[in-house]
Assembly symmetry: C3
Homo-oligomer: 301 residues x 3
């Protein structure tokens, strides 16, 4: 199984369809369909009957990765068409564009991206939906994730004399989320450091949830993200309902992934704060920025 990265283009994959023309052009085409059936029971002290069925196409995505002119100029485009993908469960503006980013590779340790993609925020959010253990991400992620944004991204791998690695990731972005159309003059600044003391995981396992590779040696990744989203006008910065006034949001995220012989432990702590998170309009209605903290931990074998 390919571990899909949402932080770079996928050039070498076995699934999907591949077109290439010498080293001038490459396109990998892949799609993802996730259908779901489930039900909710609410125990009211009396019975445990089915309250609600949820059955639907949860995710339906087309993904195009490749390069143009030279392998140094890579692109990654992801379009999404299910109702939830289009943000039509919560909003009324159809948003088919998830990722649309052009990468420039400086050398094997450094590359930059310009466009719309996932911010280097909490680990569970950056893990591709095909590599999750559960059908959905945690409710902590729902409240505090940095999600996707449009801007300039940078990725640097700092190799040490030993096997240990540092990954440095940063972004300057609008802070207003996918396909935002008008902005004030406040941007969002995101920085992230990941430390892998025992070296790289097999098959990018630090960004997939289960240890499908059965790591023969312990592998660990510790990540810390700091983000300041200036003059955000949505309740969660990149996500959420509009606020009545802009607020500057500060996020702190610490997470870790540990894998060894089929065991996988992932944990993440996330917090967001703002000076005066409550906003009011002239009628005295209240909308507030989502501040607070949460923890999400998985253990699997």
């Amino acid at each position: 199984q390919t571990v899909e990265s949402d932080e770079r283009a996928l050039l070498n994959v076995n699934e999907g369809i591949r077109f290439s023309k010498d080293s001038l052009f490459l396109m990998n085409f892949r799609f993802r369909m996730q259908n779901r059936a489930g039900f909710n029971s609410i125990y009211d002290g009396d019975n445990l009957s089915i309250e609600q069925f949820e059955m639907r196409v949860r995710r339906l995505r087309l993904r195009f990765d490749g390069y143009v002119m030279s392998p140094k100029f890579q692109y990654y485009i992801q379009l999404a068409f299910s109702k939830a993908d289009l943000d039509l469960e919560t909003g009324d503006i159809a948003q088919p564009v998830r990722d649309a980013i052009l990468y420039y590779t400086v050398n094997q340790n450094l590359y930059f991206g310009f466009g719309q993609s996932k911010l280097p925020g909490n680990r569970e959010r950056v893990i591709s939906s095909g590599n999750l253990q559960f059908a959905d991400r945690s409710i902590v992620n729902g409240l505090f994730t940095l999600d996707r944004d449009f801007g300039l991204f940078g990725y640097y791998t700092l190799r040490t004399k030993r096997s240990s690695l540092f990954l440095l990731k940063g972004a300057i972005s609008t802070g207003d989320g996918r396909n935002a159309s008008a902005f004030n003059n406040g941007l969002s600044y995101t920085g992230r450091v990941e430390f892998l003391p025992f070296g790289a995981f097999t098959n990018s396992g630090d960004y997939s949830e289960g240890d499908l590779e059965f790591e023969t040696k312990p592998k660990l990744s510790i990540g810390i993200t700091l983000s300041e989203n200036q003059k955000a006008f949505r309740a969660g910065g990149q996500l959420g309902a509009e606020l009545y006034e802009a607020r500057t949001l500060n996020s702190f995220i610490a997470d870790a992934m540990f894998k060894y012989q089929g065991w996988a432990l992932m944990s993440e702590y996330m917090s967001r704060s703002a000076v005066d998170p409550v906003t009011r309009n002239d009628q005295g209605d209240v909308r507030f920025a989502v501040v607070g903290r949460g923890v999400n931990t998985h253990l699997s074998k």
Copy 2:
């Protein structure tokens, strides 16, 4: 001409584009564009001048069929982008996903589907839009069709010692139509039997309207569908405006297709009933489930 089935994946087609990798992966890519120009004249006793022009892209669809890992696991995805396709003529939620279903083939007589696709309802609805005789389906179909739904589908071919065949089709689905996002605990149950006394039609002709194959021997298919859509909250179950209260809808459909030497006769009877189809809100406004019956008959050579 390929007769497109909307009840299974198309693996062997001549038109379109085909990608395959051993027996691990297959994708057929096809598209359909139907442009239309027309006008309406309404004779008011006085003149017969043109009242209205209708010119537009009526259907624009991308279709992906194939299998992954093994020919037993087939998929069928259809995305649609014209305004009518997106349900933006009648609603305001863009719905690009028409079909998104994964099939599991047990043996040559039995397969199951899980996802969103056409219910085994009236014949004209299941005939693909590329195989219709008219530009649109009948107004009876508009009122009483079961349309598409999300759920579990099963298809069984019962072969007899002679050439005659029985096709048994069934589905358990949400009953709320394409891309419905929230459900109560009422599901929809659909069962259909088709009897082909003189054996299979040439080139799946029981699901195309004209006898393009000039059947040298008479061919007949008789179909009967029963459906119970429990706690439906749309006027037509899978389609239509929302009701004020949920209603259980019962549908009965009988249809037949006869073809011989270029002649094709298709007829279908459809009816829907509900106990107390009228729903009211607190203000006394009324919305009703669409109940009644209708007949649609075509003869062509």
Copy 3:
């Protein structure tokens, strides 16, 4: 670089992906992603600080060109997915279909189109967004362009005994723009003549803005368009907010492109008029058809 034409299918391109099956089927698949970051400063006599950032995926398009059955039957489909592309910046109906047209080639000088595509209006509008010099078209274009429409198109090349050429282009269309769903009985009539006294430009340079080909001899194209849009109900005919009453709009466009040794001069004059452009509803609210004139000129080397 390929100069993309929005007035015919692209059959021979070097970029993108090409599928063909003998002379029965051809599809070229291309995509275009344009990401943009910018800011506005408004000098208020006091400071020149940044007022607003605009960063987003401006254009994201998939293009399919080719033929079916025979090279005489060509198609051109363009789907678009960015927020601006979908018309969701200004409206609330998602419009992914930009072009969807079938061409019939009579001979090398004459072909017809049926479907939705760009009208033969002002030159800058017809130049594909990948061949512009600036990121966007002019504000004159924004007010007075004929844009895209659905209808019947005809293109004729009149060759003279010398190298000079006349291009005759015409369209009968709905006059209501992309994906319009209901029409009155008023159509739109567009005619255009282009005169190229020194013959054809290298690599279709009359429809790209810069002289990337460094024409060794002077090349000139002069174009004149006349359009009458009967019973238009949008402020700009094919574009704009709805009027309270239909109006007949008359447009006159004159434009020219001159290229020589890397220099490119493009200029266009556009005007639109209507009898009584102001419409009122019963409450006395006012909406008006956009009438007036403008000039857009570029010089580049």
